[in-house]
Each structure stands twice: as structure tokens, then as C-alpha cells.
């Protein structure tokens, strides 16, 4: 490790400037427009009225939104409950090295590389009772399955799809964590006569803590923003069984074009996310330091 701490150098700003510029262009400008809309009622391009926090109030009162939010939270929690344990189990069972490892890695990662709408399409095809492998055999098994007709079926299908799509992310993170544990730990454990469970409980889990935290927060956030897959699969239906926040917002913004509420809603949405993001960032920081400590030993 280096003997000195990072030197202070204000010139470094010049290196960061390009990033600031292009992100500012694609983030700050739009954000300002959002703020701008959120406090105005746009009757027509030339007639605008300042309405203050009215839209925010309106959004807060919006029942459908509450519904969407509630569904969203349920869904995100369900996602975590399934994907984190499954991901860890998967990582533990993946081979450590050799061609097998590469092959498994690639297969596992594959689902992450599929355009999100195609993921939707795949499951659309997969689940249909008439032509889909899954749907067909569920029907054969005498189970009247239909993700377009039955609300709970739709919900479970979306969950299954998300698990299929994103568990690999958790698995790969956990896998990376596992690979970073020095052999000495396993040797010491075997010498101390530790059981498999003890090894998992006292070595692997603690060492994976950091990456798992990233996994949890990434998954929570991304599932909180989920849009494409359910849009393609169920279009948010039946009814609004699978209408989550992004979907709801999009329909409001693009579909019905009531700009004001949409903007206000966007901001609220944005701040919820921001909150999680803050937590994540601080975790990353603390993780960074623990990682450095670990690298000494």
C-alpha cells in the first residue's frame, strides 16, 4: 500500500469537467424543467399559471398513486426476499476456476444482457397457455394459469421474471466477494475444525457483507424503477395489478400529458430514490475502507 494519502490537487477539476458538462446537459437541465413544470399549470404553450405546491398536494392525494406505491413496495421487498438468498446459494455452488467457471459465469450472466423488453417478450412467449412451455404445462397439470387474465398470476409471473432476470446480478456480486477471500482463511478454518456451516457463518458471510449490501441496494433501487418488463408482459394489467411507479408515471406524463402532476410526482419519486442512493453511497465508502484493511491481511 502507498505510504502517503491522496495529494490535494485542484487542477484535477479539469479532468472532471467533461463529465460534469455532459451529465449536466442530460441531468441538470431536464431536472430544472421538471421543477419548473411542477409549479405551473400549462393550459397551452403560451398560457401558464403559477400554482405553487398544488400539484404536489394533488399527487399526495392521488389514490391510484398510493396504490401504485403500495404495490411497488410489496414487489421490491418480495424481490429482495427471493433474489438475495437465491443469489448467495448460486454463488456458493458456482465452480471457482477452470473452463467450467467461465462457462457457468457466462450462462448465468446471459439474462442480464437481454434487452429488458425482450425479457418481457421471452416470458410473454414462455408463459402463454397456448404456445408457451410454462403456461402449456401448467395447463396440462390442470392449473388454470393465465397471466393476462388473473391478477395474482400476473403478479407472480412478473416476480418470476424479475428473479430470472436479476438474480444473476446478486450471484455475480456474491461470487466476486467469495473469490476475494484468501485461501488462508479456509485453511485456518479446516485446521480449527470448523463445520461447513461455521465456515459460511463466520468467514464467507462476513467477508461478503460489503458486496451483499451493494446487491441489496442496487436490487431495491432497480426494482423500484422497474418499467419495461411488466410493460411488455402485462402492460400493467390486468386492471392495475402490475402497474408500478414508473409505469404509472409514464402513462401520466406521455399518455395523458398532464404535465404538472407528472412533474411533481417525478420529483417526489426522485427524492425517494435519492434517499436510498445516499445510503448506498455511504455504504460504498465504508466498504472501500474495509476492503483496504482486508487487503493488508
Amino acid at each position: 500500500m502507498s505510504t502517503t494519502t491522496k495529494p490535494v490537487n485542484q487542477k484535477a477539476w479539469f479532468l472532471v469537467l467533461p463529465v460534469i458538462v455532459c451529465v449536466a446537459f442530460s441531468a441538470i437541465l431536464p431536472l430544472m424543467t421538471v421543477v419548473n413544470y411542477s409549479v405551473q399549470d400549462i393550459l397551452s404553450p403560451d398560457r401558464r399559471i403559477f400554482v405553487g405546491t398544488e400539484w404536489f398536494a394533488a399527487v399526495m392525494r392521488d389514490q391510484d398513486l398510493h396504490g401504485a406505491l403500495w404495490r411497488q413496495i410489496q414487489f421490491s421487498l418480495a424481490v429482495l426476499l427471493v433474489e438475495i438468498p437465491l443469489g448467495i446459494a448460486l454463488a456458493l455452488s458456482m465452480p471457482a476456476q477452470g473452463w467450467k467457471a467461465s462457462a457457468v459465469l457466462v450462462i448465468v450472466a446471459l439474462s442480464l444482457l437481454i434487452p429488458w423488453n425482450v425479457v418481457g417478450t421471452i416470458w410473454q412467449i414462455f408463459g402463454r397457455a397456448d404456445i408457451g412451455l410454462l403456461g402449456y404445462y401448467l395447463q396440462q397439470a390442470g392449473f388454470n394459469y393465465s397471466y393476462t387474465g388473473n391478477a395474482s398470476h400476473a403478479w407472480w409471473t412478473v416476480l418470476a421474471m424479475d428473479v430470472w432476470h436479476w438474480t444473476p446480478l446478486v450471484a455475480l456480486l456474491a461470487y466476486a466477494g467469495l473469490r476475494s477471500i484468501p485461501d488462508a482463511y479456509y485453511q485456518a478454518a479446516s485446521i480449527d475444525g470448523a463445520s461447513k456451516w461455521a465456515v459460511f457463518r463466520y468467514i464467507q458471510l462476513p467477508k461478503m457483507r460489503g458486496v451483499l449490501m451493494i446487491a441489496v441496494l442496487l436490487r431495491f433501487m432497480d426494482s423500484f424503477m422497474i418499467y419495461t418488463e411488466p410493460f411488455v408482459l402485462t402492460g400493467g394489467g390486468p386492471g392495475s395489478a402490475t402497474t408500478f411507479l414508473s409505469q404509472y408515471l409514464t402513462t401520466k406524463a406521455v399518455g395523458q400529458f398532464d404535465v404538472g402532476p407528472a412533474a411533481a410526482f417525478s420529483l417526489i419519486y426522485f427524492f425517494i430514490i435519492l434517499l436510498f442512493c445516499f445510503v448506498l453511497y455511504n455504504w460504498m465508502q465504508s466498504l472501500g475502507t474495509t476492503q483496504k484493511e482486508a487487503s493488508h491481511g
Partner: protein
């Protein structure tokens, strides 16, 4: 060394791999069928194997132009993302400067922002700038989450390179650019590869912005597909073929970065 245990694990692994591959297999399987076969009979593999669906895609401009468009804006986006991210990541990994933490945090927030939030303003912004329905528009929009990601990953990889190497180079008298390209870049090849891969992937899979900001000239494949679903009734076979073709590029790219993929997903932090 523990046989039974070992078996259990492999069984679980195999089970998962099947779960992971089945849906994909089903789409591939369909892409080689004709629509009649799909709708008339339920078959586990193509009875009359056909390339027809792929032919349609490669011959019908409304299809293949979709791929070309996607590849164009993905490429543009990846290039821009990396060029701006590299110096920034270097700055973050090597120096402390006024407000560095805040900037880094702010960048991350963009990775975490739901695209839906920016949908509306983007629409407005690009319309006013007359960028609607251009590749640039989508590429720019995707910078929103790709640049922060690239910075993040690269910073992770760069922090793994001892700072003494930089200093030695400066002591030897290397100018910064010369050092950066002749010495530093070769050291973080892997990082660049992984970052590029992620930019490619996230830009490639994103639907919402891509669809909203384009209509005809820059219409990406992902959008083409969603519209086909509604338009030409249920042309399952073609749709499946199109789907398969969207997976191929990613599958190819991933093979090259397979050794770093795990580290990459951990944002180079492990």
C-alpha cells in the same frame, strides 16, 4: 473433499442453469418455427425447421434498420462515456480536490434516477433543440446513467494500481498524456473493457428513453419489436427471431470480459 455435499451443490447449480436457459431456449426454438406450427401444434422443437423468420428480418428494412440504429447510438454512447469517464475516474482515484466527494455522489445519483423521471423534460429539451429522432439524442440521453457507471467502475479499477507507478513515471519525466496512454491505460485494460461492456449493455437494453426520443429515422430495434407486437397481430415467429438477434451481440461481448465480469458487477470494488 466432501462428496455428498459436492453433489448437492452441483445438482442445485444444474437446476438453476436449466431455469435460466429454458425461457431462452423456448424463444430460440420458436424462432425456427413457422407461425402455423407455433399456433397449431405444441412442439418442444421445430418440426419443420426454417430460417424464414431471420430472412424476413434481414431483408425487411423496417426490421434491420432497427438493429443498425441501435448499434449506432450504442456505439456513440459507449465512446463518449469512456472518453469523458477516463480522466474523471483518474482524478477521483488519485487526487483530493474541492468538493470531490459531492461530485462523485451527485454522479451516482444519476445512475440511480428512474429514467421515467427525465422522460418528459428530455422530450421537451430535444424537441426544442431539434434533436428528436436522431441517434445523438438517444446517445446523449443514455449518458445520464452510463457516464456515472463508467466513472464508478474505472475508478474502482484504477484505485487498484499503486500510485507509486504514476510518481515514478513523473520522476522519470513522463508528461501526463504520455504517461496516461503508454503506461497507465495498458494497466487498466480490463477495467476499460468491463466499463465499455457495461455501457454497451445498459444502452442496448434500455427501452423507455430510446423509444420516446425516436420515431422513424433512429428507431431502435427494441422499439421496433414492441410496436410489432401490437401492429402485425401476433407474428410470434418473427418476434422470437428478432429477440434472439438482440441477445447475440451481448452474448458475444460477454465472452471477452468473462474473467472480469464478476469484479465488474461489483463495480470494481472487490
Amino acid at each position: 473433499m466432501n462428496e455428498r455435499r459436492f453433489k448437492k451443490r452441483t445438482l442445485f447449480l444444474i437446476a438453476y442453469l436449466i431455469f435460466a436457459l429454458l425461457p431462452i431456449y423456448w424463444m430460440v426454438n420458436m424462432s425456427f418455427k413457422t407461425n402455423q406450427e407455433i399456433l397449431s401444434s405444441f412442439t418442444l422443437w421445430p418440426q419443420e425447421f426454417t430460417w424464414a423468420n431471420y430472412q424476413t428480418i434481414f431483408t425487411d428494412p423496417s426490421w434491420y434498420s432497427g438493429y443498425i440504429n441501435s448499434l449506432i447510438y450504442v456505439a456513440i454512447n459507449t465512446v463518449i462515456s469512456l472518453t469523458v469517464a477516463l480522466p474523471a475516474a483518474y482524478a477521483f482515484s488519485r487526487y483530493r480536490f474541492l468538493g470531490d466527494k459531492h461530485v462523485f455522489f451527485w454522479l451516482l445519483t444519476n445512475r440511480m434516477t428512474p429514467p421515467a423521471v427525465f422522460l418528459l423534460p428530455f422530450f421537451q429539451l430535444y424537441t426544442t433543440m431539434g434533436l428528436m429522432d436522431t441517434h445523438i439524442a438517444v446517445a446523449m440521453a443514455h449518458l445520464l446513467f452510463n457516464v456515472p457507471l463508467a466513472v464508478w467502475i474505472l475508478e474502482g479499477f484504477m484505485s487498484g494500481i499503486p500510485r507509486e507507478i504514476d510518481e515514478t513515471a513523473y520522476v522519470d519525466g513522463y508528461s501526463f498524456p504520455r504517461f496516461f496512454f503508454t503506461i497507465f491505460l495498458p494497466l487498466i485494460k480490463a477495467g476499460v473493457g468491463v466499463a465499455a461492456f457495461f455501457c454497451f449493455m445498459f444502452s442496448w437494453v434500455e427501452l423507455l428513453l430510446a423509444r420516446t426520443l425516436t420515431s422513424v429515422n433512429a428507431k431502435p430495434i427494441v422499439a421496433t419489436m414492441t410496436r410489432t407486437v401490437s401492429a402485425s397481430g401476433m407474428d410470434w415467429a418473427t418476434l422470437a427471431a428478432a429477440g434472439v438477434l438482440t441477445i447475440v451481440p451481448g452474448a458475444i461481448v460477454i465472452w471477452f470480459v468473462r474473467h472480469y465480469i464478476a469484479k465488474g458487477f461489483a463495480m470494481g470494488r472487490v
